[in-house]
Amino acid sequence: MELTVTDLAVARGGVPVLEGVSFTLSGGEALVLRGPNGIGKTTLLRTVAGLQPPLAGHVGLDREAMAYAGHADGIKATLSVRENLTFWADVFATDRVGEALAAFELEPLADRFAGNLSAGQKRRLGLARMVVTGRPVWVLDEPTVSLDVDAVAMFARAVRAHLGGGGMALLATHIDLGLDEARVLNLAPFRARAPEPDDFDGAFL
C-alpha cells in the first residue's frame, strides 16, 4: 500500500494556500510536515484525509484507509475514557480498545469521565483513538500539543509500533518527536502565489 500525493493544490476559505505538493509514502514510513503558522499544514492534512476537495491534483489512496486526528480530540465529557474508545471501536468495527489504553497508559483512568481529565490526558485519549481505528494511514495534526516529555515518548512509541506493522503516518508538528527515521517535508517552497485580482469579485478578496 502506498500513499501518493501528486501536484496537490489546496485552499482555505477560498484562498489558495499551497500548490504543487507531491510526495509518496509507502508502508512503514512516516512523513513530518513542517512550515510556519498559516502555511496550510492543517488544510493539506484535511484534504488528504478527504474532508475537503483539492483545488487541483490528486490523492492516490482511498480515504477509507485513513484515520484523521485534528486539533480537537472529539472527546465526550460525559462518557468515561473506556466508553469514548469503545464507541470508536464499534464505529470502525475493531476490538483494539485494550491495546489503545495500554499504548497511552490510560488504564488507571479508564473508568473516569473524560471531562475530568487534564488537557494532556485528553490528548492521550484522542491519540489512543488512532490505535483503535486500525487504519493503515494515520493523518495527525499537531499531535503533541499539551503533551509532556514522557507522553511525547509514549506517542513516538505508538507511532513506531504502527509503522512496524506496515502502517504509515503523516504528521504536522513543530517539535522534535524523536522519530529519527521520519522524513521531513518543508512546505514553505510550496506556498501558493497570491491570485491576481483580475475580476470584480477578486477585488473584494
Binding site: M66, Y68, G70, A72, I75, K76, T78, F87, W88, R129
Partner: protein
C-alpha cells in the same frame, strides 16, 4: 450505526444532555395557557389540540441546535466524517436519537398535559396518534436545519427562521387531526397527509442533510 445511536442516547440522558429540557418547556407552556386565556373549560377544550401541538413543536425546536453543534465543537463531527459510517446514516441516526430523547417523551406527556387543558375525552387517541406520526418529521426537518447552520456561532436564531416555515405543513395537518378527533369528526384525510409528510421527509431529507454537512465541514 447502533453504536452512534447508543452514544447519542447516553449523551442525551446524562447530565447536561438536554433531556427533559423540551419536556419541561412543554409543561410550562401548557400550564401557562389557562392563565393567559382564562380557565373556562369550553374555551380551553376548543383550543387544546392546537396548543398541545404548538407546545410540542416549540419544545422540539428548543433542542435542535444541539444535534450537531456539540459534535462540531469538540471535533467529533470531523472524525465521524472520516469514519466508515456513511454521512447519510450518521445523519439519520442523529435524527432518530433526537426523536427518541425529545419527540417520544413529548408524545407520551401529551395526554397527561391534555387533562390540564380539559381536552375532550374523544380527543386523546387522535392527539397521541397525530403526535406519534408528526414528531418524527419535526426531528428530521430539524436535523436538516441543524446541518445547515452547523459551524455558525449562535446559529440558533437562523436555525429557527429556517426551520419554522418547513414545520408549518406538519403543524397544520397534525393539529387538524387532533382537532377533528376532539370534535368527533372523521380525520382520515389530514392523518394521511401527515403520514405522507413524515414519510417523505424521512426518505429525502437525510440525503440533503448529509450533503449540506459535507459542504459545511470543508
Amino acid at each position: 450505526m447502533i453504536a452512534l445511536l447508543i452514544r447519542d442516547m447516553k449523551l442525551g440522558t446524562r447530565a447536561g444532555g438536554g433531556f427533559g429540557l423540551g419536556l419541561a418547556f412543554f409543561l410550562i407552556v401548557v400550564v401557562l395557557v389557562p392563565f393567559g386565556v382564562g380557565p373556562e373549560t369550553g374555551r380551553l377544550s376548543l383550543i387544546a389540540p392546537g396548543i398541545l401541538w404548538l407546545g410540542a413543536l416549540l419544545a422540539c425546536l428548543l433542542s435542535l441546535d444541539r444535534i450537531f453543534a456539540l459534535d462540531w465543537e469538540d471535533g467529533s463531527l470531523d472524525l465521524l466524517a472520516t469514519s466508515p459510517l456513511p454521512m447519510e446514516a450518521a445523519v439519520s441516526v442523529k435524527a432518530l436519537a433526537h426523536w427518541l430523547t425529545t419527540g417520544l417523551p413529548l408524545v407520551l406527556a401529551a395526554p397527561v398535559l391534555g387533562v390540564l387543558l380539559s381536552l375532550p375525552a374523544a380527543g386523546y387517541a387522535p392527539l397521541v396518534l397525530s403526535l406519534l406520526l408528526g414528531t418524527p418529521a419535526l426531528s428530521v426537518i430539524g436535523t436538516f436545519g441543524a446541518a445547515l447552520t452547523v459551524g455558525l456561532k449562535r446559529g440558533g436564531l437562523l436555525l429557527s427562521l429556517l426551520v419554522l416555515p418547513l414545520y408549518v405543513p406538519t403543524l397544520i395537518f397534525g393539529a387538524e387531526v387532533a382537532r377533528r378527533g376532539a370534535e368527533g369528526m372523521d380525520n382520515t384525510t389530514p392523518m394521511l397527509m401527515l403520514a405522507g409528510i413524515t414519510c417523505g421527509t424521512i426518505a429525502l431529507l437525510p440525503f440533503a442533510s448529509a450533503a449540506v454537512l459535507r459542504v459545511n465541514l470543508r
